[in-house]
Symmetry: C2
Subunit: 182 residues, 2 copies
């Protein structure tokens, strides 16, 4: 048997949270199971561990692949496919983050850009235009920043996070140094 009580509680929790994280219950459970289980698992093993149909596993794997969250392995002398989580815990977090940005923010940014192209024609639209503009700029800034953070090397990123609010002191320091150079 694959699951002990504690492992099961984690896997079921992933299921309950699944929909909040952007996928559905079974996909959440599947991913939880893969993360918590050291050995890669075959589709049949997943189906048995979670009591779901073989077809459902297949669809779930496809979904996880679209998030770039699983990798596939083969064992010698065995035709089955074995699945395990793709990358480290850290990578998994950045991938979920990035994919969610694509799904949750990018479409909105593109709608806003389109809508902002033509000029407002009456009072209501002037206000609407203004609001959309503000949302657009905010999303752009945040998206851009998120991208840059992701491109930093993980060590610096960790330093930055550990620094926390202290970062504002560093910024102050920087602006003082710069103004001295004038």
């Amino acid at each position: 048997m694959i699951m002990t009580a504690k492992i099961e509680s984690f896997v079921m929790h992933c299921g309950e949270m699944g929909s909040r994280w952007g996928f559905n219950r079974t996909v959440g459970q599947m991913y939880g199971l893969l993360i918590i289980h050291e050995q890669a698992l075959s589709a049949v093993e997943i189906a048995e561990a979670l009591n779901i149909s073989r077809g459902n596993v297949s669809m779930g794997i496809k979904e996880l692949q679209s998030w770039r969250l699983v990798s596939v392995h083969h064992k010698p002398k065995d035709r089955k496919e074995y699945y395990s989580p793709a990358g480290s815990i850290w990578e998994m977090a950045t991938r979920v983050f990035e994919e969610r940005r694509k799904r949750e923010v990018d479409p909105t940014l593109s709608l806003l850009r389109d809508n902002l192209l033509d000029e407002p024609t009456n009072d209501k639209e002037v206000y609407a235009h203004q609001q959309m503009h503000e949302i657009h700029d905010l999303l752009e800034t945040v998206t851009h920043w998120a991208g840059e953070l992701q491109s930093m090397n993980p060590d610096n990123l960790t330093t930055l996070m550990k620094l926390g609010a202290g970062v504002s002191k560093v910024i102050d320091m920087k602006s003082k140094l710069l103004s001295n150079n004038k």
Copy 2:
């Protein structure tokens, strides 16, 4: 009539995105409508603009209130309640962010903390323990950092975002300064 074509496209988009942002279609539309419309709207006006039932509006308003995203107004000589978005665009973003953290991350952190309390009893659990530990630490760090960013004053935050990846240079600079002091 409340909506022009362009406003409608924005409102309907908010509806389609609603479920990805953490609420359902109608709640998304309602919030979009409130954001884009300068004057506060009554429940009946919302119901008519979106072609939904009065009861649905009431439930939607409750949902938006649980996210701290609407505020209620009264007009003199009028018993109706009028609704408008709570706070600036910036505040709305931080609220959605914060509420989502509460719903998406906090429950997991608490499950992990509980599970990590008792020691693993076999090989499978040793590995599971390790993984949960890693996820726990990552979520803690990120949550903590997000909290600190939110507590920074908006100007510094903007500077920080504009700085983007350039922040790693500032960090380098800081560590050089510190090591010179040794």
